[in-house]
């Protein structure tokens, strides 16, 4: 019996490293401008609002809302468990920061637009993959 396909991991660089590793401490890292407070995602050490270079990863609440989602039914590769949900989540701190993710701990048919979700992290290789589940508290 062969295992289910594993998650394909991203190549990380100095800009994206915090995003993919701070989950070890249960923190979702999003780059933020130290001068004007704007969240910059995907992470770039430049603020498009005020042109500051003082942009660095910062832990956010991990709370967000489902902007959109799809329930995938096709087994694209052998042994892929279906259905599963792919979603874009907008973080509570700044809704236009959108994070691709799977919605977990929730039946696919129960996912809705605008649903309140919170980040959880799954270790995979040397990285911690952000996922979201319905807010539980």
């Amino acid at each position: 019996m062969t295992a289910e396909p594993s998650r394909i991991l991203p190549v990380i660089d100095r800009d994206s490293e915090a995003y993919w590793t701070w989950g070890r401490e249960g923190r979702l890292a999003i780059h933020r401008c130290g001068d004007c407070g704007y969240y910059v995602h995907p992470p770039v050490p430049f603020c498009p609002q005020c042109e500051s270079r003082k942009v660095a990863p910062e832990a956010v609440s991990g709370r967000g809302r489902v902007v959109t989602f799809t329930v995938n039914h096709k087994a694209w590769v052998p042994r892929l468990p279906v259905p599963y949900v792919l979603a874009l989540v907008g973080i509570d701190e700044q809704n236009d920061v959108r994070i691709p993710c799977n919605i977990v701990d929730c039946a696919p048919e129960d996912v809705t637009f605008g649903m309140a979700v919170e980040a959880v992290f799954e270790p995979s290789g040397d990285l911690w993959i952000p996922l979201f589940r319905p807010v539980q508290s």
């Binding site: 998650r7 394909i8 991991l9 991203p10 190549v11 799809t70 039914h73 792919l86 993710c101």
Partner: protein, 394 residues
């Protein structure tokens, strides 16, 4: 009106190879077939071609997505050119056409050969080629943000956009299905189409869900094939054998965040401001358009474009396509008259521009739109990718 550079260009010839679900010849052989046919159709010879353009250029990754680039075709045909260019960082698949317009405007070229080759039918017969992801390999670049989430195909990213569109517009599966049903009906009249057996709305509704709201019949069909067009400088075009199909206006802008995750208007994709740019470069209006060849990698792209080109209001496409009569060959706005990519085969917008010219030249045989169509809107799309052209035969 300002003389925009595209107004000094015209399509003068088109070509298409055999289109199949499994070619007997190589990808390069198909490309040569399409190119030679286009050159001859324009009344030119190889010696007249002084530019080559393609999108997205050669990708030697075994996927069949773009197995032939400018260099391979140039060498196969032994062309001598003043300019060539192929690359994926462009406003959609017609980016190659926009580049050619620039090359002509710069005085570099008189006749540019533009082509697109797909070999995905053969590639997908291998183990993994229908997957964007490679087991055991790390994903770099913009797609890395999606990679860990089992995002194996563009269908999943696009389904994110389309599901939001369904949510906002209230369109029903019965309405969406009219796109697939209409195009299959048109494909039955197109000898080169892949799927010619008519489908009913019930067939559409019974087709498997890929990723909500996408059904199988919302997705284009991978093929082996190539299409080519010749874009010529207008003074050259006037002396050639076909009536010039003028490039009246283009939309090539990208005024949103250029991202598959952060794109501002997820449900309309990058199309609205591209259409706005195109209409800003012509005195023609949506009501002047006779036929439309709208990108249909997925049927929702076509639905998006009906609205974004202004053929109907925002979220009004559901009423526009209801029952399918308006978009039929004898309707107010015949759409994807050759069957499109859904039934004709995935030539990735170059099937669409080929069909546009075929109709405007009155060569479409059993599927020829009545009333001597002269004006065609055509488009490309996919998330942040979008491009548009308005084609006119005087």
């Amino acid at each position: 009106m300002i003389r925009f550079a595209e107004k000094n260009t015209a399509i003068t010839g088109v070509g298409m190879s055999d289109v199949s679900r499994g070619a007997t010849g190589s990808a390069l052989a198909l490309t040569v077939d399409a190119a030679i046919e286009a050159i001859a159709d324009a009344g030119l010879t190889r010696a007249d071609i002084d530019g080559i353009a393609t999108w997205p250029g050669e990708r030697a990754d075994g996927s069949g997505f773009s197995p032939v680039g400018c260099a391979a075709l140039q060498d196969a045909l032994r062309l001598e050119v003043n300019w060539y260019g192929g690359g994926g960082e462009a406003p959609g698949q017609y980016g190659a056409v926009f580049n050619a317009i620039g090359a002509i405007a710069a005085g570099l070229c008189r006749n540019v050969l533009i082509f697109r080759t797909m070999y995905e039918a053969t590639a997908r017969k291998t183990a993994y080629a229908n997957s964007l992801l490679r087991e055991g390999q790390r994903q770099a670049g913009p797609f890395s943000w999606y990679a860990p989430y089992y995002t194996y195909a563009a269908a999943l990213q696009q389904a994110l956009f389309f599901n939001l569109y369904v949510h906002k517009s209230g369109i029903t599966p019965e309405q969406v299905g009219q796109i697939a049903v209409n195009q299959r009906r048109n494909a039955a009249l197109n000898p080169k189409a892949i799927y010619k057996t008519p489908i009913s709305l019930d067939d559409y509704l019974a087709s498997p869900i890929i990723a909500t709201p996408l059904r199988l019949y919302d997705c284009d069909v991978p093929i082996d094939g190539a299409a080519a067009i010749i874009v010529s400088r207008m003074d050259v075009a006037r002396d050639l054998r076909n009536p010039p199909i003028r490039i009246e206006a283009i939309g090539s802008s990208m005024r949103y965040r250029n991202s598959w995750t952060q794109l501002a208007e997820l449900d309309t994709q990058a199309q609205p401001r591209v259409a706005e740019m195109m209409w800003g470069r012509t005195d023609l209006k949506p009501a002047d358009v006779d036929i439309a060849q709208l990108y249909d990698g997925f049927s929702f792209h076509t639905i998006n474009w009906l609205e974004n080109f202004g053929f109907c209001e925002r979220y009004g496409a559901k009423d526009f396509i209801e029952g399918g009569r308006r978009i039929a060959l004898d309707g107010d706005l015949p759409v994807n008259t050759g069957g499109g990519a859904l039934s004709g085969g995935r030539l990735h917008a170059y099937g669409a521009v080929h069909e546009a010219c075929t109709q405007l030249w009155g060569r479409a045989g059993a599927r020829q739109v009545k009333g001597d169509p002269r004006i065609c809107a055509t488009s490309t799309s996919g998330g942040p990718l979008a491009g548009a052209m308005l084609l006119v035969r005087d």
